[in-house]
């Protein structure tokens, strides 16, 4: 059996195991075994992939496989991975694993919670291994639906409103997406839904591309928090339980960037060249707008959600810059943002679980009370503002160097505007760090709080290791991404010539 199918099979087995389990310990057992298996599998896949590549495998995708499951529309269960999807699978593996530990003590309805959580992971993993448009879309929907219940049932604050808003907006986006996919399928005239084969045919007429590129890009872009369709994200993140925020910001938002690149830009290069600038303007706005909006927020999760708008905006921004370096930077930024936002949300969840408030005006001096969580928070903050040695720096620098290769004034101006976000990021990160961690303790009740427990420490340490690992030794990831990015961009580069 293909190694990739295990990414779907393991969550399915986990679902079965959860369904059969009778006690809390059994539920936890299933989750730990399953998510560790997924993590190990993704690490193994990464190593094996790098091994195959260095042994000289030159195909665009490795481990490809295909089973027909609906012949009239040529819908196949086609799978395969290149460097980009391997990186995303590794990211998802880490986040699902740490997310399990971050929701270790979640109550009530623990079993049901983990059922939906696993279903969500199933959708995410399935999406990243698929190469068939329809299968991809199906997994995308599988990942969306559990979100509604996870936020609506286990969330906090205005959870029903947020859950509804998030679901409706993302569903609306997937309606666009479905149109786009159908347009690609019929427009290409291919007898297949396989992305690779459609790309190889490369015969979608330009006038159809002009219609379906915006639809597809927008469909995925909403998930990537593209301005002005980002507003589901602050409310959604704020209301979601910890591990769901982690998975959502860490992985689900990456589906957007990944889809934009793999589907919209890959299959419709001419329209991307022609219409990309419109979206480039929107993403540039996203980057700065998100950062400025984060400066005045008072809720920890809102700050992070707006920061995500800014950082995910940078992903789409870099993709639309369409140079090899900038696109590699975009994928690096997805990885880096996934890890550091997951870390952030995990820590915020843990702090909230103790102080029962996320309002930064009501907290101070946490460094004295919970040194472990506070140090973790500082590290996450420094990663977010792009400190060298942590993951944010390499991603941002790759993006900026790559974007600067476009020598015309329009791209230059966009790049410089996007660069200013590094200053504003520093402003909102240090504002929060200064307010909640430093100073003396104002609220006497907070003095009785305790520092992180073992399961929380474990989750935080895993994420910090990942963030620092990526930040200190970036060369292997960037090598892995380079060739795959090149393949996808080759059509663009040939147009430019």
């Amino acid at each position: 059996m293909n190694i990739l199918s295990f990414f779907v099979l393991i969550p399915l087995l986990m679902l079965l195991g959860l369904w059969l389990s009778r006690s809390l310990n059994q539920v936890r057992g299933v989750m730990v075994v399953g998510s560790s298996a997924l993590l190990l599998l993704s690490i193994y896949l990464t190593i094996d992939y790098l091994g195959l590549r260095s042994a000289g495998a030159t195909e665009e995708m490795l481990y490809t496989d295909s089973y027909m499951w609906y012949a009239p529309l040529h819908i196949c269960y086609s799978i395969g991975v290149d460097g980009i999807s391997v990186a995303m699978l590794l990211l998802s593996g880490i986040i699902v694993f740490t997310g399990t530990f971050a929701s270790w003590k979640l109550k009530p309805l623990t079993k049901e919670y983990f059922l939906w959580f696993t279903l969500l992971s199933l959708g995410v993993f399935g999406f990243f291994i698929s190469t068939d448009l329809f299968t991809m879309f199906m997994f995308y929907e599988v990942a969306l639906i559990p979100m509604y219940l996870l936020i609506g049932v286990w969330g906090s604050g205005r959870k029903e409103y947020s859950a509804m808003k998030l679901t409706l907006m993302l569903m609306g986006a997937s309606a666009f997406l479905l149109c786009g996919i159908l347009g690609i399928y019929y427009g290409s005239g291919a007898q297949t839904m396989n992305v690779l084969e459609i790309a190889a045919l490369h015969n979608i007429p330009l006038d159809l591309q002009r219609i379906f590129f915006p639809l597809t890009f927008l469909g995925f872009g909403v998930l990537g928090a593209l301005f002005p369709f980002h507003t589901w994200s602050p409310d959604g993140h704020a209301s979601a339980p910890t591990a769901v925020s982690m998975l959502h910001a860490g992985v689900l938002m990456k589906l957007g960037g990944y889809g934009c690149f793999r589907v919209a830009m890959y299959l419709m290069p001419e329209a991307t060249q022609e219409l990309g600038w419109i979206f480039l303007v929107l993403t540039t706005i996203s980057v700065v707008y998100g950062a400025f909006s984060a400066v005045v927020q008072t809720d920890l999760k809102y700050i992070n959600a707006y920061s995500s708008v800014s950082h995910c905006g940078l992903v789409l921004f870099a993709l639309l810059m369409m140079t090899r370096t900038s696109c590699t930077g975009a994928i690096l930024q997805m990885l880096s943002h996934g890890l550091m936002t997951a870390l952030f949300f995990a820590l915020i969840g843990m702090i909230y679980g103790r102080t029962h408030t996320r309002d930064i005006r009501e907290m101070s001096g946490l460094m004295k009370i919970m040194p472990f969580l506070s140090v973790g928070y500082v590290i996450a903050g420094l990663a977010n503002l792009g400190l060298p040695g942590l993951s944010g720096f390499i991603a941002e620098m790759t993006i900026f160097v790559g974007s600067f290769e476009n020598a015309d004034t329009f791209h230059r101006v966009c790049t410089i505007i996007a660069c200013t976000s590094i200053v504003i990021t520093a402003v909102y990160i240090l504002r929060v760090v200064g307010k909640i961690l430093f100073h003396t303790v104002k609220n006497p009740h907070h003095l009785e709080l305790t520092d992180a427990t073992w399961d929380e420490r474990f989750a935080v340490i895993c994420l910090i290791i990942a963030v620092a690992g990526l930040g200190m030794a970036p060369f292997w990831v960037s090598d892995m991404l380079h060739d795959s990015v090149n393949t996808i961009l080759s059509a663009h580069l040939s147009i430019l010539k």
């Binding site: 002005p228 507003t231 909006s293 400066v295 040695g389 160097v401 660069c419 200053v423 402003v427 970036p474």
Partner: protein, 630 residues
């Protein structure tokens, strides 16, 4: 000569940071301090050895010292010719900086044993010191501009962490935040400069191909100018200097190490590093930098004359002295040793200043340790209580005032000579500012050790001489200050690498010494006695000016206005409002209108037979009418 051991100079402080950071909390104070200090001791020995071998090995055939790269590996590839490398570059200025950093850092490590004794977070303090030393060493040995940027950011963060060391103090938290954000803002310029440089020069190394530079034409001055913005932020050039005085909230040894001797000269080092390109492709930018330096030097000297917090006086004196170095680099008009005299002079001053300014700060630390206050009003007459501190502080004051034979005289004399060579106006202005330096330093000296003693406070708590761990670094640095002026610096560092014999320009030397002596006499006349009628009268006569200078000419207020009012109130708040009330409401409205129209339509599906009948009849009627009409 094999320089592969130099990697230890970087790795050891990093390891020390990791060990102290992870396990420090479980260690005793002494153990943690000993680890940090021992590591720095080894680093210092290795740095001295490197300098000894490097300069001892002699020059290559063209009369310069060879540039060596014992290590250089590709860390992050971008394109085929653009990549970030990490490595070690040995050339005269980087070797010189290794000596400066390791010496001052070692002294600060030893000193902190006494100064920080019993402080909570002692281990954390040593961990951060190690992190800083690692980053600063990495910055100076950078083999390319991007490596420099990486370590540039790392020193920024170490500085942030150390300024905010007393994190329960609101002033310290605010100061650390301000320092980081102001320098980050400047680093934006640096980053864009690097991007332009990388694109047009086709490389991030310091030696791009000449034809690329020529082809870049008008873009090189932009690239270098923007890079200097980053340097101006770190080196506290006007108007980006505002973070440095506030940074004095950190522990005093930290001020000595980071905010006097090493990190703040990073901007000067950057200009020196890019000097060959500056002088060949953007000399006019270099001269603008010189003018900015003159302005900064004057501004800071003027403010330093009226401050009452001794660390603030020293902070402004640092700003002013760094501006001297910047001016020195800026007034170069050519690359050869004579036209590029300023290059040598600036680097020389960097070296001597690091030693005597660290001495001043450590001395100030000893005084603060003794009287538990930063304010001059709590001091006065301390010379009888603290003889060692008194003598060493006096030596440093004489050095910074430019009195021979102390080190500051020699380096400052070269700077003034270079200025006169560039333009007499700049030369005279700098001479006057040098006189102001002598004045405010002796005002400080008399205010602390002579003048009116605060007997009430001192009776309550008698000031005492510092312990040996603190006085040893003072004596060591004082000794260095006494002799380092006689180092034939031009033989090691010069603008084109050729040996240059420093010869005192008699005219300049006599003028500057005269001005300094007059300033010192004036300060003695005004501040030595217990009663200071002249000073009080002057302050009363020029009340507005005095007040404006005391408030640093309101630069902080202007910055607060820009950040708080403009960014916070005028951009962020409206944007956040727009997001909640326009973008969000639009989608809420969409949802609401779908809901409302559904409500309307729902009325028809009422389940009442009567209403169905009516609708049926109306429909049928309408249909009939339509048919009839057609």
């Amino acid at each position: 000569m094999d320089y592969s051991y130099t990697i230890l100079i970087l790795l050891l402080p990093m390891l020390s940071f990791i060990v102290l950071g992870l396990a420090g909390m479980r260690m005793q104070h002494k153990v943690a301090g000993a680890i940090g200090t021992a590591v720095l001791g080894i680093v210092a020995v290795l740095s001295y050895a490197t300098a000894y071998f490097y300069f001892g090995n002699g020059r290559s055939a063209d009369g310069t010292y060879e540039k060596l790269m014992p290590y250089n590996f590709e860390w992050l590839p971008f394109t085929s010719n653009l990549h970030i490398d990490l490595g070690i570059l040995l050339d005269p200025i980087s070797v010189m900086m290794l000596i400066v950093i390791s010496t001052v850092s070692l002294m600060v490590h030893i000193y902190s044993f006494g100064y920080m004794k019993g402080e909570k977070g002692f281990q954390r303090y040593y961990a951060f010191l190690s992190l800083f030393t690692f980053s600063m060493l990495g910055l100076v040995v950078a083999t390319n501009i991007f490596q420099m940027y990486i370590f540039w950011e790392l020193v920024g963060v170490s500085s942030y962490l150390l300024i905010g060391f007393y994190y329960t103090k609101p002033e310290a938290v605010a100061a650390s935040k301000k320092a980081f954000i102001v320098t980050r803002f400047a680093d934006l310029g640096f980053l864009i400069g690097i991007l332009i440089y990388g694109y047009y020069a086709g490389t991030f190394t310091f030696e791009p191909e000449t034809q690329m530079l020529i082809a870049a034409g008008g873009m090189m001055p932009w690239a270098l100018g923007l890079m200097f913005v980053g340097g101006a932020g770190k080196s506290a050039m006007f108007p980006l200097h505002i973070w440095l005085p506030d940074a004095m909230e950190g522990p005093t040894p930290v001020s000595a190490l980071i905010h006097a001797a090493t990190m703040v000269v990073a901007g000067v080092y950057l200009v020196a590093r890019m000097f060959p390109i500056f002088i060949a492709y953007a000399p006019e930018v270099l001269h603008w930098i010189a003018y900015l330096g003159v302005l900064t030097a004057f501004y800071a000297a003027a403010v330093a004359c009226v401050q009452t917090d001794i660390k603030r006086v020293l902070a402004f004196s640092t700003i002013s002295q760094i501006a001297f170095m910047v001016v020195a680099l800026g007034v170069c008009i050519g690359a050869d040793t004579h036209e590029g005299l300023g290059y040598m002079a600036g680097m020389f001053h960097l070296f001597t200043h690091a030693m005597f300014k660290a001495l001043l700060f450590l001395g100030a630390g000893a005084i603060i340790h003794a009287v538990h206050s930063n304010e001059m009003s709590a001091m006065g007459g301390l010379r009888k209580y603290m003889p060692i501190t008194h003598i060493t502080f006096l030596i440093a004051c004489l050095a910074i005032a430019g009195i021979p034979p102390f080190s500051g005289f020699f380096s400052k004399d070269e700077i003034l000579a270079a200025c006169f060579q560039f333009s007499p106006v700049v030369g005279w202005m700098m001479s006057i500012i040098a006189g102001m330096t002598a004045f405010y330093m002796f005002r400080l000296y008399y205010g602390i050790f002579w003048g009116k003693e605060n007997k009430e406070l001192h009776a309550h708590h008698t000031p005492h001489e510092a312990p040996l761990s603190m006085s040893f670094p003072l004596m060591f640095l004082a000794a260095v200050t006494c002799v380092s002026g006689f180092i034939p610096f031009g033989h090691f560092v010069s603008s084109n690498g050729q040996a240059y014999d420093i010869h005192l320009n008699a005219q300049v030397a006599i003028t500057s010494v005269c001005i300094a002596i007059v300033a010192i006499v004036l300060a003695t006349f005004m501040y030595m006695k217990e009663q200071q009628p002249v000073a009080d009268k002057l302050a009363a006569t020029f009340k507005t000016l005095h007040r404006a200078a005391y408030r640093r000419f309101y630069m902080d207020e202007i910055w607060m206005f820009v950040t708080k009012k403009i960014i916070f109130r005028c951009i962020s708040t409206p944007l956040a409002w727009f997001d909640r009330h326009a973008v969000d409401q639009f989608f809420n409205f969409t949802a609401w209108s779908a809901n409302a129209s559904a409500d309307e339509v729902r009325g028809m599906q009422s389940g009442k037979i009567q209403s169905y009948c009516i609708w049926f009849l109306i429909g049928a009627l309408a249909f009939t009418v339509m048919l009839l009409l057609v």
